[in-house]
Each structure stands twice: as C-alpha cells, then as structure tokens.
C-alpha cells in the first residue's frame, strides 16, 4: 500500500523525488529542501497523511550535506505511512512544517536543539530538551559524550511584554459595546509555576500559567528537567546494552518499552521472535499497559480529589508488580526482553498467579467505575474539560488512548499486528468528545480488554524455546561457552563487540501504553547503533497542553494534565 503511494508520488513529482527506498517495509522518499513543503502539503491534502509522527535528525559528518532530516508521516484514513527525508548542509535552514502540522513545532525544536539544524519560518525556535544555557548540540557526532555542562539559571517563560500583551488581548476580547467592562491591567495578572515540583505534575515538568483570577489566559511549558540524552547514550553502547535504558523511558510500563525495542532491532535483522517469546511479550506488555493505565487513572482521580479510588486500584498494581518482580527481579526497571528472545522463561505457577490478580483488577475497576462513572461531581469536573477533536488530535500528533478518546478506533495492535496480536480477540474502546472523562473511561475499558487478551494468551501459550536459535544475536548456552571454542568466541564477540546488526535503517513501533512508541534505528554494521531515535507518545501530546487549557480554570488544567498521562522519563529522554 505504501509502495503504491511512492509510485504515485513519483508520477506526481517526477524528478523532484530524488530517491525512493523501501527497507523492512518502511517506504522512504528523498526530496530537496525547497520541495519539502510542497511534498508534505501534497501528502497531507491529497494522500491523507493526517499526522506527522516524528522528525528524526541524523548527522553524517563525512558527507557534503552533513545532516539529514527524516519526516515520519502516517495516514489514518488511508492506513499507510511514509518517510520523507531531506539533506541539510550545516547552517543551511530547512523550511519549517509548522504551517502544515502543529506537531512539527516541538519536533523541529528538538532537532534544532540536538543537532543545531535551523528551521526557517519556525515561530519559536528555542532549545527544548537541553537547558537554554547549554552550548553545542549534543547529538552531533563531534560532541563528546563525557562533556557535561553546568546550567543553573532558571528561565522566566513570560516576559513583562508578554504579560502586557496578554492583558491587551483579554481586554479586546471582552470588550463588547454597551457592557461595562473592567479594564484588565498587566498588574492584575499573576504568573504561577505549575511545577517542576508541584503535587499535580507527577514528574519534573513545568507549566507557567498566566492567570486572571482563576482563569488561565496563557500557559507556557518547559520540559527537559530529566533529559539525559538517551539517544546519545544509545550510540555509545552496544545494541544489547541499550535495553536497560529503555526501561527508563516510560518507567510505568518498562516491559512494553523492552518488547518494542527488541522488536525494532529484530526487524533490522528481518527475523521475528519465537512464538513462545511473542506470547510472553504479549502477556508482560499487557500487564504493563494495565499498570500504566492504573497509574494514570489513579493519579488523575487523586488530582480531582477522589482519593479513595487510588487504593482500590493501586492494590492491584502492587500485586501485579510482585509477580513481575518474581519474573525478572525488579519492579520498575525490568530489563526483561532480549534481542531475539527474553532474558528467561516464565516461572512455574505464573499463569495461575496472574489469573487471580486479573480477577482482583476486574473487582477494582468495577468498584471505581461504580464510584465515579455516574458521580455528578466527577462528571462536572471532567466532561468537556481539555476536549479535543479527532482532526486536531491527529494534527497535534496524538496516538493511543488520548486519540481513541476522541472517537477514532485506532490501535496499532489491530492496524499493524505484531507479536501475534491478530490471534487474540479484543475490542478498541473509544470515547466521543476527547475530553478528560473520555480519556479516563477509555483507559478503564482498555484495562478490561488487556485482561481479555492475557486470558486468551494464557489459554494457548505455545511451548518451545524462548530464544531464537540465532548465534548472531542470542548468547550461546553456558554449556557451550565453557565446553567449546565456538561458544567462547560467540559469547566474547556478542559481549565485547555487540550484536552486529546489519547496516540499514528501520522504524520499529508498537502500541505503547500512551500511544505509538517507536524506535527509529540506523545501523552502520558495527555493534553500536549509529542513530537511535525514540518516538515518545507523550511528547507531541504534551505540546498541545497550552491549547487545551487556555481560557479554562486552574483546576481544569490539573485535571487535563493528569488525563494526558505525561511521563517525564519518556518526555525528556
């Protein structure tokens, strides 16, 4: 389907499509910088690519045009995806895509921040993940990984002019003929910091709100408080060593990150995990999804003041964590999947234990639904709060439960089935208004669906080996390591040189708890990733926060923030 799209593009643009490649099912076209806006506009308007999923910068110091920028586009109506890449010589600007896709704003800022590629026409080209005092661009190959910088000065997100401007605009909007209106002075407005350490931010992120009384006139967000440049770290490590770092992306659903990362690298090899490993991945992924949704729903309800629900659901989370701990030795940072398999098989009695725990989950979900679903206060607080339409949501780069809450039944587990998700029956819960209530209810319903999936997997979990029989990626059994020279050599090469992933690039993705989690990998055939870009689902979602809360009240902003489920570890990487 995507191949036909490339052919259509070639017919439409002729020579201006400089190259077209298709590797591992990822169709990609190369265009010149001048043609980029034209091609993107064509893809959006004629080919139904409603969403710009991500923008990836790549540094090739040896090339004449040093940088490469890859745009990942996805069509929800026509169900195809395509990548558009452009070459960008150093200091030559790339035309911005902000006019076409609102999600481009933050993605371009990220590329600018980490590579120093300027985007012409960008409305607000500032650093985003690194501190504003930071010098240099961390993901350039010539930036030494051990070079730390001390950045201490905080940034005021609203200047005096901004406040005066907001006051003027509010006056213009409220002045209707005949009405007596109090003139708003800049001194009437108050800026207030929601975060980085505020009870409702649940992670280190900051939203500075400009308030007129309790009404938010404007909000500006600042992220990057726990930015550790995961992508640079990945380039410094072998493919297998990256696995524990993926735990720390969305730390509420580490198993999901593990599985999707392993899948992405396996895709580069062109192999798939064994049926048993796939089944295990499905089980632990769905357990992770349940935990992630529990955390989100619980904390959201706590933010709304409904404290009791927290315990009804968190007891279940705790009990699932106990099983995960038994399974892989840790609760939060699991590091359980391996490229080509899993670190080890399930323990005896796992199935029965999980069945009991899922029963508890059902009980908890039922209790909480009874407490909130028809509660007048809850509905007053959440219906219509932070609402977004499907079209806007796609444009902002929404995926996952937040997108489904707007009414679009889109789930990558159904649309692009992986790990055998097509064998299992489950529904895609959707909302109608895309507001806070829908987001909470969609998550509640998804937990029940996850339970359904796990029950099905447990019923027909296949036997056989967990790991692939492939010495290129899977460590040999210990008996071989100690008993034969080939085994020793194999182990030595895999550990010291790393897994030799074939040269090329691939975009591996799956349905994370918050939405589409993707790893865009480039390998140059050495044991290290040449470039590894994560597509974190909550990054584009959080970029829309300002537009969701403008004109609403402070308590609404807190309800909205909770329902978007912003996980700082994934947001900042």
């Amino acid at each position: 389907m995507s191949q036909q799209l490339v052919e259509r593009l070639q017919r439409e643009f002729g020579d201006r499509i400089l190259a077209a490649t298709g590797m591992h099912g990822d169709e990609s076209v190369t265009v010149s910088r001048q043609d980029l806006p034209l091609v993107l506009a064509h893809l959006r308007d004629q080919e139904g690519c409603e969403q710009l999923s991500d923008i990836v910068g790549v540094d090739h110091p040896e090339r004449a045009a040093r940088f490469e920028v890859v745009y990942l586009l996805r069509s929800y109506s026509k169900r195809h995806r395509i990548q558009v890449s452009v070459d960008a010589p150093e200091d030559e600007p790339v035309p911005t895509a902000c006019g076409l896709y609102r999600s481009a704003n933050w993605h371009e800022r990220e590329v600018y921040d980490l590579f120093g590629i300027p985007f012409s026409g960008h409305p607000d080209l500032r650093r985003i993940l690194c501190h504003h005092q930071f010098e240099g661009h961390a993901l350039r190959k010539d930036y030494p990984i051990e070079q730390g910088q001390e950045c201490t000065r905080p940034e005021n997100l609203f200047s005096d002019e901004d406040i005066a401007h907001a006051a003027r605009r509010a006056n213009e909007m409220s002045s209707s003929p005949g009405a007596v209106v109090d003139e708003l002075h800049p001194s009437d407005l108050l800026t207030i910091n929601l975060g980085p350490s505020h009870p409702a931010t649940h992670g280190a992120l900051r939203a500075e709100c400009l308030l007129d009384g309790e009404t938010i006139l404007d909000a500006r967000t600042e992220i990057g408080y726990i930015h550790r440049c995961f992508e640079k770290e990945a380039e410094d490590h072998t493919w297998a060593q990256v696995m524990p770092y993926t735990d720390r992306l969305n730390y509420c659903s580490a198993m999901l990150n593990n599985s999707i990362y392993a899948m992405a690298v396996e895709k580069m090899f062109g192999v798939e995990a064994t049926p048993r490993a796939q089944a295990i991945r499905v089980i632990v992924s769905e357990l992770s999804r349940i935990i992630d949704h529990l955390v989100c729903v619980c904390t959201n309800l706590v933010d709304l003041g409904a404290l009791t629900n927290y315990w009804y659901l968190y007891n279940v989370r705790e009990s699932i964590y106990q099983s995960l701990e038994k399974l892989c030795g840790s609760r939060l940072t699991t590091n359980y999947a391996r490229i080509g398999g899993m670190s080890h098989d399930l323990y005896d009695g796992f199935e029965d234990e999980i069945r009991v725990k899922l029963q508890e989950l059902e009980q908890g979900v039922t209790d909480v639904t009874k407490l909130v679903a028809r509660n007048r206060i809850f509905l007053d607080r959440t219906v219509g709060v932070g609402a977004i339409s499907t079209a806007d949501a796609l444009n902002w780069g929404y995926t996952g439960p937040c997108l489904r809450a707007t009414g679009l039944a889109w789930d990558l587990r159904k649309e692009a089935p992986y790990s055998g998700y097509d064998q299992y029956e489950f529904d895609i819960p959707t909302g109608t208004n895309g507001d806070t209530q829908d987001r909470i209810m969609v998550r509640m319903a998804e937990m029940v669906q996850s339970r359904r999936i796990i029950e099905q997997v447990l019923q027909k979990i296949p036997g056989g080996p967990v790991d692939l029989d492939d010495p290129r990626m899977v460590l040999p059994p210990k008996a071989q390591v100690y008993g034969s020279i080939e085994g020793v050599m194999n182990q030595f090469k895999l550990i010291f040189e790393g897994i030799q992933v074939p040269a090329g690039r691939g975009y591996g993705f799956g349905e994370g708890a918050n939405g589409e989690l993707g790893f865009y990998c480039i390998s140059d055939g050495t044991g290290h990733p040449y470039r590894m870009k994560v597509r974190p689902p909550c990054f584009p979602i959080f970029s829309s926060f300002t537009s969701l809360v403008q004109g609403r009240m402070l308590p609404d902003a807190i309800a909205t923030l909770g329902s978007l489920n912003i996980i700082a570890g994934e947001l900042d990487r």
């Binding site: 108050l190 009870p199 409904a306 927290y310 009804y312 007891n315 509660n375 206060i377 607080r381 807190i558």
Partner: protein, 351 residues
C-alpha cells in the same frame, strides 16, 4: 456556668469567696475545660479520620503506635509537629504571619462557649447563643486571609482568596438553614432549642416537618464547606494549590490550623446535633440518664458522616462551589423557611 458556680460554692475553701471571685474561678475552669475538649478533639479525630479513611480504602490505617489499633498515633503526630523547625519565610509579613493561626484558633474556641452539653451545663447561657456561635466562628475567615496574605506565597494567596470567598458564601445557607428551627422554638438560646425537642426521636426538629428535613441536609452540606473539608476543600486542595493558605506554615503554627480544623469539624457537628438532632435527648424517651454522653456520641456520629463524605466524593471546582451555594442552596433554604412558616400557621402553632 451556674451549676459550676454552685458546685464551686459547695467545695471546702471556696465557700468564703466573693461572687466575683467565684465567677472568675468558674470562668477559668470552664475555659480550661473547653480548651482541653478542643485539643482532645484534634487528637481523637485525627486518629478517627485515619481509621475511617483506612476502613473505606480497604487498608488498616495506623496499627503500631501504642499497640491497640495505633491509638497513640495522633499523640505521636502532635509530638512530631512540636519538634519541627519553626520557619517564618524571609519575605513574609512577620506580625500577621505569627498572629494568623491564633485568630483561627480563637475563632473556633470562642464559639464553644454557647454549646449546650447537658441541661444547664453550658459555658455561657447566652440568649443569642446560636447567633453568637455563627458570629464567633466567622473570625476563622479573617485568620485564613491573614495567613494567606502574610505568607507571601502565590499558592497561599490563592488558597486564602478561595477560602474567604467560600466561607463567607457558605455562612449564609448555614445560618439560613437553622432559621426554621428558630421559628419553631422562638428563641436563639441553645438550651431552649434543645429543650424544645424533648420526647423522643419524633420530636427532633429533623423529623418535625419535611422542610426541616431538607433544611438539615442543607445545613450539613454547608457545614462541610464551612469547615473546608472535601469535597469542598478549596482553600487547601493539595493537588492544585500545594497546601493552600498554610503552605508556608510549620511546627506549632501549623498545628494550630490543624487543631482549629478538627475543632470546627466537631463544632459544626455539635450544632447539627443540638439544632436538628435532639441535643442531649436520647431517641427513646425516658433513657436520658447520661445527657452529655448522648450529646457527644451523636456529635461523633455526625463527624463520622462528614468523614464518610470526604473519603467518597471527588472535589468540586471553585466556580461550581459558588454556583452550588448561591444558585441552589440559598434558594432552597429560603424555601424551607417559607414552607416551614406556612406549615406552622396552618397547623395552628402560631396565631
């Protein structure tokens, strides 16, 4: 007070005292007693709140401190709070900052003067008793505003502004809801109100007529808002305003706010009891052997109801809170007054 004076006169050593001396001694004893009861409230009710919350949330609550169901937990908390560093922010308005908790405490302590614990046992048998209680407890608002302003903290200021708006608004339905009762009794004296409910559960004002029944629930809702507890805990809203007006307070000063909150909680519950729920009278006539105990037990049951609501419902938004007060509760309470009045006339209770 009269009983106390008479009691003192009977004691050896007090007999020769002048009337004035007796009055001052009696007042001092009463004030000490009231303050002790108030401090006990905070201790008993923090423990009770933890246990009730634990019960509702399928957990235990404190279980270790003092062995038996963690009974000493509140005492340990108090000791811990006393040991905390006393911080006054550098940019705070020091005078106001120090004074604010005292005003809050004073406001809730003063109101206790007119609570009718048992027949004749009331610290000050005021003719305008109920009016005095509402007037005195209004002082709490001033204390909260002072605290929020003096802290020089934006979150505290928001909490204080919300608190002032909320408490001033909710005082209206709170007082209006008691007016039908006052009409029935024809007096604001707290003793008279209780005496008028003698004769078993059917003579309690809550069950006298349908309008009084509604008025009781209006009073109950307004009293939750008046004590700043969930679902109306706007001035604190820990998830929105960090800790609201007492964000910057530590140690003993914080303990005063804490003390006042629970004292107020018990106070509004006791008002509900003596205005609507028969005060010290037991539900079955003739079983009134321990009036003060009956009164306190009823009060504790009301506190439990209050806690039950708090741990069940989510929090309303600040504008919805105002909507509820001005557009729902005040009209309904006014209707109760009119309706109850009409019933009184038609039933011939008044000419």
């Amino acid at each position: 007070m009269d009983i106390l004076t008479a009691l003192l006169q009977g004691l050896p050593g007090f007999g020769g005292m002048s009337d004035q001396g007796l009055f001052i001694t009696g007042a001092a004893v009463m004030a000490t007693l009231m303050f002790t009861v108030m401090a006990l409230c905070a201790i008993v009710f923090t423990w009770m709140e933890r246990k009730v919350a634990g019960f509702i949330q399928s957990r235990y609550g404190p279980m270790r401190t003092g062995r038996w169901h963690g009974w000493a937990q509140a005492v340990a908390d108090m000791l811990k709070i006393l040991g905390k560093e006393d911080i006054i922010p550098a940019e705070a308005d020091k005078g106001l900052f120090v004074f604010a908790p005292l005003v809050v405490l004073l406001g809730s302590l003063l109101a206790w003067v007119a609570v009718p614990w048992a027949p004749g046992f009331v610290a000050a048998d005021l003719d305008l008793g109920l009016f005095f209680i509402f007037a005195a407890s209004s002082m709490v608002v001033i204390g909260i505003l002072m605290a929020g302003w003096a802290s020089n903290n934006k979150w505290a200021l928001y909490g204080a502004a919300r608190g002032a708006a909320q408490m001033v608004s909710y005082e209206i339905p709170l007082a209006l809801a008691t007016i039908p009762v006052i009409m029935h009794v024809g007096s604001l004296n707290t003793q008279d109100i209780v005496i008028a409910q003698q004769g078993g559960i059917w003579h309690w004002f809550i069950l006298r007529d349908p309008f009084l029944f509604v008025a009781f629930w209006m009073y109950f809702i307004a009293s939750i808002a008046e004590t700043n507890r969930g679902p109306f805990d706007m001035p604190e809203t820990e998830s929105e305003l960090v800790a609201g007006y007492h964000t910057e307070y530590t140690g003993m000063r914080f303990a005063f706010f804490f003390l006042a909150e629970y004292a107020n909680l018990f106070l509004v519950s006791l008002i509900a009891v003596f205005v609507f729920l028969g005060g010290w009278w037991s539900p079955i006539p003739g079983l009134d052997f321990a009036p003060a105990l009956t009164f306190v037990i009823k009060g504790i049951l009301m506190v439990f109801l209050n806690m039950w609501v708090r741990w069940t419902l989510p929090r309303v938004r600040v504008d919805q809170l105002m909507y509820l007060c001005w557009k729902v509760m005040i009209p309904v309470t006014l209707l109760c007054i009119v309706g109850s009045g009409i019933l009184m006339i038609t039933s011939g209770a008044v000419g």
